[in-house]
Amino acid sequence: MKVLISIDDTDNLESRGTGEIASLIAEALEANGWAKTGIVTRHQLLVHPDIPYTSHNSAMCFPADLQEGALEPVIAFTCGFLDHECAAGSDPGLCVAPLERLGDGAELIDFGQKAKRQVLTTRNAYELGGRLGLHLSEHGGTGQGIIGALAGAGLRLSGNDGRMKGALDFSGRNLLRLEELLDHPHIDAVRPFDGGELSPDALVEIGEKPKTVLRHGLSVLFVSPLSRDGSEANWQTTHRKQLRGY
């Protein structure tokens, strides 16, 4: 069974981040033999005075392919993990969304997109989660993290939102050809940030902590033109500040 596991608002100013918590959960699911998991994505939600958040209001989500009969143990484990690990003062929420219950996914995607534009309520989240048969649970504080958790699942499902957690590692190399980039296990596609296509002989200079974004269901590395004297490369990885909108 394929599911999306999404969490929100687990941290405070001093604790480990929600992204690290998501990664630890994914590692534990693999270690217990319950699931094969995919990369964690970070999804930006609305920043608004009426929404409680620590500093950035982002949700974290990852896909998991569960072994038969593993849904209930996975939910129980993840709930226990959040109860134990979440920081004081946070409002953690968990969503576990089996893909087979989502139909065409339109309602969940719509919820996620709305959470980027407007203030939603726990009632909105429970209504949709209940109708679709998803797991939603609160793990302390006000429990309002279930809104972001559900939204994170919807945005991940859309395939067109969020940045992948973690920076890409190229073993210290800072100039790579397109085909070498595409050999990286966490890169599905390499595209110019401003559109168009790369030529097969494109040579890319790797900047500080490059990362991919989720576009059309793919992990995409964006690159930008480079025309600096003395550099062999004709492209560079797109700067982090330009990826802020993802």
């Binding site: 100013l13 480990r16 981040g17 992204g19 690290e20 970070r42 920043v47 608004h48 005075p49 958040y53 620590t54 500093s55 950035h56 209001n57 982002s58 974290m60 940045r163 957690k165 973690g166 920076a167 900047g207 500080e208 902590k209 700067h239 982090r240 500040k241 802020r244």
Partner: protein
Amino acid sequence: MWQVAWNGTREFTLGKESWGAAASAALECQSFAEDVEEELVAEDERSCYNCRYRRWNPASFTCLAAP
């Protein structure tokens, strides 16, 4: 660069795209602490935009570090 509210919190008045000013402010700050990797947005590692004590708001951010 900063506006101080009645409760002592400081809001960065230059918005979300003043990369140079945010880096300069962080260089002078004793409380700067780099946020987790997935929340970094500035190329300058040391930037208020990358600090775990910045709390984004619709127009800019508030600094939550002790003054």
